[in-house]
Amino acid sequence: MKTFQGRVIVPGTCTAEALVSHGGFNTLASYQMALQFGDKKVKCGDQSNPDIYKKSMLAKALCLPMTIGSTTGGMVLFGACQMGKQPACLLFSETIDSLAAAGAILGDVWTDVSMPVVDRLGQEFLDYVQTGMTITVKEDGVVEVSGE
């Protein structure tokens, strides 16, 4: 097991399976088809992201550098929270970007969903974590990564 310390954007705790995007996560491209057409597994629809394209994002610990793309991104993430189709948590290696921050904060303030968000975990975090590993997020921004 390896431990990383980040900065808490939205507090909370969770344990979930990691889903890792090494490139920028395009929120609109990833979620739009799944949300519009009721994909129960919430599979990623971003053809430009080979790490997670067609993989289920539901209840996963989404590990990413940052989000990119359209400014509907935050609304899309907020919508995912409202529909109960959000990831278990969002873990950023870099400082969170404005679209992801908006979506995460809207989800926190305007819904009852718990989706912890931690940023500034560092490149070492993203280099180490692999899809399928187990992630535990603590209240103080500590992230534990275990498994092969």
């Binding site: 920028g24 519009q36 935050g74 305007w110």
Partner: protein, 426 residues
Amino acid sequence: MILTPEQQALLNGEKGETMAKVVKTLVMYGDAFDAERMVPVTSEYGHTVISFGLKTLGPVYDLYQKLLDEGLLSKQKFTADPRPLDKNVPSSFLEDIVFNKLMYSRQASYEKQLEEMGLLDEDSYTCTSYLPQVGNVPKQGDILSWAESSAVIYANSVLGARCNRNSGILELMGSVAGFVPEFGLLTDEGRKAHWIVEVRCEHKPEAQLLGSAIGLKVMEDVPYVKGLDKWLGTELTDEATTYLKDFGAACASNGAVGLYHIENLTPEAKQQGESLIREDAKVYVIDDAELQRVKESYPVIWKDPDAKPALCFVGCPHMTLKQLEDWTDNVTRQLEENGRTKVTVPTVFTASTPVIKEFNKTERAGKLADAGVVVSYICPLMYMNNPLCKKKPVITSSNKLRTYTSSRYYTEAEILDIITGKEGSR
């Protein structure tokens, strides 16, 4: 974050729980970026990215209704992104059912909410609200609470206004409160360039391809682009601003760029020159080979990569009047050269309603219609976002549309060859 007594009172619930939540959202947003204070929104108008009434996003519209019910309206009139539906755009019977019954069934009720919230007028649905025909043109230094990646980057870069890459809904919160947290692109430091981009192409680079290459490289950083004034000149002419509109949209959608500076051309680059560049700025050199490499890296996700295109979209972001005029001239000339009278692929040019109205006053409108091209105010991206259109071989000159949909990108010259049936074009 230090709030004024008035802002603190709002946060404490002086004007109700919902307004307190609006302010709390903005405070948390500012805290995430170490903002120290709120600053007033100073632009005349706002702009919202959410223009669509999607059946599945009911809870989003419930939030709008909650604000309306409590009298929490936008403090400014605002424009909105393009509508998702236009019956003039070719669609099948099945697609019409999907569009009207399954996807955008809340469109009418949402448009009513927008009107109540402060929409400028019926013609305000466009991603190019900053064009003079539409009239939402911020001044240099104005603080905006806008969302729409292509509009934000244009307002920041070409007009010198100040706006962060706000998300949909968040921009509404800023407009309702009348203030936004001061960080990032609202600050002098946040507008300095992390990258020097040296353009060393032999020919004028395609705007949508150059923007894509830069977006993919610098992601959310600010690029300072050298060498582009060689082709664009040093004044913001119609031709230059049209180029920058498309260039910026590609930067913003292929990466997350919210501001760029073009040496000797954009306002802050002209006023401040290289003092806008950070000491530790990295360098990215772009030549014709690099652009070709980027173009070839785009995945083609059509089931049959050799399929004949079923539809072509030009105008994401919406076209300027000059673009409509130039494309009309090019289409009619090339059709004649190819011995044809009509385009060989169903083609839609998209522009704002005010631009279309201006265009329709000219002789070119009739020529374009005779050539079989449809002119529409639709948002091609929203048209494409469904399983039926995903299977359709759609071509486009928009790198933004390529990024978010299954459409296939071609340069403008290639698109022109294809839709006018030039032999050997596809």
